[in-house]
Symmetry: C2
Subunit: 400 residues, 2 copies
Amino acid sequence: MLTVDQARDWLLQRARPLTTTETVPLLQALGRILATPLLSSQDVPPHDNSAMDGYAVRCADGSGPLPVSQRIPAGTQPAALQAGSVARIFTGAPIPAGADGVVMQEMAELQPDGQVAFSQSPRPGQNIRRAGEDIRCGSEVLSAGQQLSAAHLGLAASIGVAELTVFRPLRVAVFFTGDELVEPGQTLAAGQIYNSNRYWLVPELMRLGCEVTDLGIVPDSLSRTREILQDAAALADVIMTCGGVSVGEEDHVKAAVEAEGSLDLWKIAIKPGKPLASGRVGQAGFVGLPGNPVSGFVTYQVLVKPYLQRCAGLLADCGVAVQHYPAGFVWDRPDSRREEFLRVKLLQQDGQWQLQPYPNQGSGVLTSCAWADGLVRLAVGQQVRPGDLLGLLPIGRCGN
Amino acid sequence: MLTVDQARDWLLQRARPLTTTETVPLLQALGRILATPLLSSQDVPPHDNSAMDGYAVRCADGSGPLPVSQRIPAGTQPAALQAGSVARIFTGAPIPAGADGVVMQEMAELQPDGQVAFSQSPRPGQNIRRAGEDIRCGSEVLSAGQQLSAAHLGLAASIGVAELTVFRPLRVAVFFTGDELVEPGQTLAAGQIYNSNRYWLVPELMRLGCEVTDLGIVPDSLSRTREILQDAAALADVIMTCGGVSVGEEDHVKAAVEAEGSLDLWKIAIKPGKPLASGRVGQAGFVGLPGNPVSGFVTYQVLVKPYLQRCAGLLADCGVAVQHYPAGFVWDRPDSRREEFLRVKLLQQDGQWQLQPYPNQGSGVLTSCAWADGLVRLAVGQQVRPGDLLGLLPIGRCGN
């Protein structure tokens, strides 16, 4: 058996990151992966400007009273400040030539004759934001290989960038095998089960930003499975399926992938989980998740999602910052051969957040995954006592 | 000044949650908010089935050798098990009538005459998954008011549900004011700045699942702003803007909202931030964020996002489980009047995750927000020493 870390490393090494890029408008770049570093072609702020509503002054002129020679709202281009006068100025407005400080309005008194006096002598540079103080022209604003968030797009806009060069979306084709599978909405005959894998896997891939081709349920036949693999390899970067890759006798996926390409079947010391298939069909990568939905879901989160992110062009690991919380439970039946990934929830107990496991960790249905906030990784043989600090691998949810 | 909690409660109380629902296919329900609880109309598993590849037996028949009277792959409907025989059975396949246990194949020996002997006497119930063991018919599988994740959809599929009743998307109209604003891609004249607020706000709203109407930059005129508000109120549940609601003299948004509806201007003890406008125009809610992009971004994350989620029909708070990490920094210049939200990153130091603040917390550009993993909330006057545990409010990123 491979350890989880070995399997993860192996998959990451086999990932073939996208190289094709495209240029998209900012508002279409959310969640996309930046292909080239973004350098600023300008200073931000572009010019010295006022940090306050107040008065732009020549500090040498002292605390006044002084006449107001101009008014500078944001968005205007001021004339040079006449010596012996001040300029009414607003936050963000450019500092007029000749001025070397801004007095905030709270420190200024407008006198009946229209002149302004200050309660303190102004100091050179005060309340001025300097050109380039936030972003210097030529500096790297966003690095390549990161997934673009809303704040990234706002930042790009602030240096005048209207479009970004990103990798094209990763194309993933999925299909499902098993004569016992039925689509939801239909009635189950005896011995049939619903194809639940399709309905968590496709949304997970969508959330990752993949372009998903959903080839549905494929009849359990070698020739049909081979045809589907050929079709999928022609259009996708990665082909994924659930089930059909364990030692069961009714599976044709294994034989079909071996006939059309190459396949490694791994036994991984992961619970839930264990079998994972990885290979290639033509130019496409192939990943076969275990057919049990909980095993497939956990294997996807722990091993396959990082592989897909690497394929998509992501350079940094996403969400590697594992959070640690105290356990609110006892775990005294550790697995002696496999690392275990418990589905857990964060619950508040006496004002403190604690991890609680889903009661039925052995189930084959997704109740535990739908309920959980994330996964806790237990080492082989690891017991848990209340208060033990455990790392939490979050399962993404809720637009956060 | 209102405290952050007061402002948040006030906004939440003013939220008018959506009531209009629609029924959508599972694969279109990702990220939508469930409007009615989902009850299971069936048992899962639907019938007793085998937890193993092996042999279904009548335990009273003992450890054999016994003839194999049938073969039951998953997806088939077995005949009753003849007394004095066993059935070859595979994982997930239905238990034939009369059988009361499954012996895993590792404990069975197939003899030359085709009969099977077991190394131990089978015990009643062993390796059988009972009907309804995972989900009982009639039980609540998903509760109303939760945002649907991939696992939720997989779970719904596993009980045969093909579509879900969700709230329609929240409609949000946004516009931006200020004659100094220029769209990225154009050249800045002196005194102009790029409209960066549009490019973080619209994506944040998209990520939340809102239907966004982007009305762009509105000229600084009262009559034009009133027209835009009328248009927006006719089509949106919530109208949002950035800027134009502080004490500055060049703003018409305040007067326009007051003329077309009602407006409260709040000063909130939040840094960055402070001004926030909340009101109504016709049937639509109105929220005016501060115009400084960092202030707007932080105010959005802390106060406005929960309000929008409540409007959209979300019942539970999202991401309320604040994660705590040790500070890797000193903060000895606390604000004496406002709670402060530092933009921080999780960085690993000597194998431990620590929070580090962005060096320039005072900047008006989004560099700190684009760099950060989240926000740390400091109480009024709170100092920080290395190792202090601080709560982290994550800023969503990376499809997690």
